[in-house]
Amino acid sequence: MERAEALGRERVLARIRSALKAPAPHHQCASPSGPVFVPLANAVERFQRECAANSTELILVPDTRGAADALGMVLASVTPGEIYLQDAPPLRRMLGGLKTDRAVRWSNDGPPSESSQAAITAVECLVAATGSIFIASSAAGRGASVVAPVHIVVASEAQLEPDLAAALRRVKDRELTTHNSALFLITGSSRTADIEKILVLGAHGPRRVVVILARNLD
């Protein structure tokens, strides 16, 4: 079986190499060297605008204390039931300060359960130009940001990258593709327009995405 597979691979590669012997036309264009995307004036303002457009709930707070308060407020609006948290020291501290009689499951105990009502995670970074969050699988795994109907993220302005190019550069600089099996860019609520092109929020992923953005987090 393996030998046959190896032969198949060799044949495909051989066909590719043979095919590429003939050069394809290459249509150059006098490409303007200016920016392709509309430039960013203020990252936080742009992030705010994009979140509003893609239905991400954005809460701006000054510090960790403010973040904890905001977290408490958001959780109060979530259906009763278990919540799932990324096992990271800042989130442990934040939850410690909260009074909650919910069942809490931490990511070091495993993935979220099917009936989780909310998941709370950190992020690798945020993207201002698109109103997106960028999450690595080594953080809280893959299911954390999709299983529960509410996904809450806590981040600081230091994590706000201006655009996708900067975010992807950060991924490269920090060698995130080496340390993670998967990386996720998430922009707003899960959605579909498959029925008569009418936008419906909350398909298979979270209906609510909440970003608590602190000016500073210690």
Binding site: E5, G8, R9, V12, L13, R15, I16, A19, L20, A22, A24, C29, S31, P32, G34, P35, V36, F37, P39, A53, N54, S107, G110, P111, E114, T130, S137, G141, R142, G143, V146, V147, D163, L164, A167, L168, K172, T177, N180, S181, A182, F184, L185, I186, T187, S190, R191, T192, A193, D194, I195, E196, K197, I198, V200, G202, A203, H204, G205, P206
Partner: protein, 474 residues
């Protein structure tokens, strides 16, 4: 004429008269067009963006072996497995064997045109596996037992009423007993309920991929629903089936490809879930599949690669914008084509993947208006390739003998002004005679292929050259 061609004509005749269906298509496309106008606002210069995407894909395809090898090496370094499938059968067999060996009983599938191309689902179902399409549009057409209508919006031909009726019939348990069950949010909730169990119980998730990122050694998958996210987080096996042409050289290429794909595909700034996956769960990661398999599919792509004139067809990022722009698609819809890939890209691509002789009619079923080429985000010269396919069909001797003879006669006539003028005068005289007798559009009308659908133009007594000769030098 081949059977495929006959079937196309029959379906086209049927669909072009289905005014309800055409109205639904036009509505969907009007929505799409409005959304695209909004989505393009993120670009200072959308034409520059298109050119950049063209450059990225040109580089990728013209160094395809190098980038595929780089991709493979990095995936394997993470414990992923890469299988090079020469044919559809090779791909199906690999996946079926894997499923059998690992005791897979349930599969959740993300939307993937390439899995349609290789007819994967019927092959797995024949082995007794249950396969759930999880993209809402695909889920709907799967329940209806029909192919997707459009490569991005599989159920665009259906109304909410159609879908509600379908769900009542096929998913009685997931439907709530409530009243307004034609409400799109309610219908989406039904699908979510129905599929959630499948996600949590499936042993294998199958996806496609929008891109193979060579320098990261990761596949990139784009969805709005998040079905791919659940399908690659929960089951213990993940199989990604990807055409070899999906390669891009660098991670940073996504900074422009993701937004352009979103704008061209649905008019969004960016799609909700853009994921990069490069291997099975790593040590220390909370969850994720135990095994990650990438099936790289050739299935005729290397033949197209060898056609240097049409190599750019492999730039395609499957955004669907050529379908939406095409007035033929708007008139007859996606099912009429009878092929996995419909619309302009389907008409250009299918003869290469499945044979020019059998599928040349798709290249002729176009007015060559060029709308497709003008919207393609990776600048494929679509409508000119339709012309090239036509030329190739003639060169291969695949055209009917009477057509060849007709053009020989036409050429002989047109090679002389005298013969042309004489033929024209005679033709006009005959038509004027026939039409004066009221025989327009009847069986003896030589213009019947025209007059079957529209009135003939008034046939003049004098040609321009006759008028010119008489008094044109005034």
């Amino acid at each position: 004429m081949t059977t495929a061609a006959q079937e196309f004509l029959r379906a086209a005749a049927h669909e072009s008269t289905d005014l309800t269906r055409r109205k639904a298509i036009r509505h969907a496309i009007d929505q799409y067009d409005a959304a695209v106008q909004r989505g393009r606002k993120q670009f200072v210069d959308y034409e520059a963006a298109r050119q950049k995407c063209y450059e990225i894909k040109w580089e990728a395809l013209n160094h395809l072996d190098k980038y595929l090898l780089e991709f493979e090496e990095k995936v394997k370094a993470r414990g992923g497995q890469v299988f090079w499938a020469e044919t559809a059968e090779d791909a199906r067999r690999y996946i079926a064997d894997l499923a059998m060996r690992r005791g897979v009983r349930t599969v959740v599938k993300s939307k993937s045109m390439v899995t349609e191309e290789i007819h994967l689902t019927p092959a797995l179902e024949k082995l007794g596996l249950r396969v759930f399409e999880t993209d809402l549009g695909e889920f709907i057409v799967q329940l209806r037992n029909e192919p997707p209508f459009h490569i991005v919006t599989p159920a665009m031909h259906l109304t909410r009423g159609d879908i509600a009726k379908l769900f009542r019939e096929k998913l009685p348990n997931a439907m709530s007993s409530g009243a307004s069950s034609e409400d799109p949010p309610e219908l989406v909730a039904v699908a979510r309920r129905a599929l959630r169990r499948a996600f949590f119980s499936a042993e294998m998730g199958i996806t496609g991929a929008n891109f193979l990122v060579a320098d990261a050694g990761m596949i990139a998958i784009t969805t709005n629903e998040g079905n791919d996210r659940l399908g690659t987080a929960l089951p213990r096996l993940h199989v990604a089936v990807v055409g070899i042409e999906k390669v891009i050289p660098r991670l940073e290429d996504l900074a422009i490809l993701w937004p352009v794909l979103a704008t061209a595909g649905t008019g969004q700034t960016i799609t909700c879930y853009d994921s990069l996956i490069g291997g099975p769960r790593r040590d220390g990661e909370v969850d994720g599949p135990e095994e990650f398999h990438v099936v790289l599919l050739d299935n005729g792509r290397t033949d197209l690669l060898a056609d240097a004139e049409q190599r750019d067809v492999l730039h395609c990022i499957r955004c669907g914008s050529c379908l939406n722009a095409c007035p033929v698609f708007r008139a007859v819809g996606g099912h009429t084509y009878g092929t996995t890939y419909s619309g302009p890209i389907g008409s250009v691509l299918t003869p290469h993947l499945r044979g020019l002789n059998e599928f040349q009619h798709l290249s002729y079923a176009s007015s060559l208006c060029g709308a497709c080429t003008s919207v393609c985000p990776v600048k494929i010269d679509l409508h000119h390739h339709l012309l090239h396919n036509r030329r190739n069909a003639v060169r291969e001797g695949d055209r009917p003998w009477h057509e060849r003879a007709a053009f020989k006669l036409w050429r002989w006539t047109m090679n002389s002004a005298g013969r042309f003028a004489l033929a024209g005068a005679a033709g006009r005289a005959a038509l004027r005679g026939l039409y004066r007798l009221g025989l327009e559009a009847t069986a003896v009308d030589p213009l019947r292929p025209w007059t079957k659908y529209r009135t003939a133009p008034p046939i003049p007594r004098k040609s321009f050259r006759a008028m010119w000769r008489e008094n044109g030098t005034r």
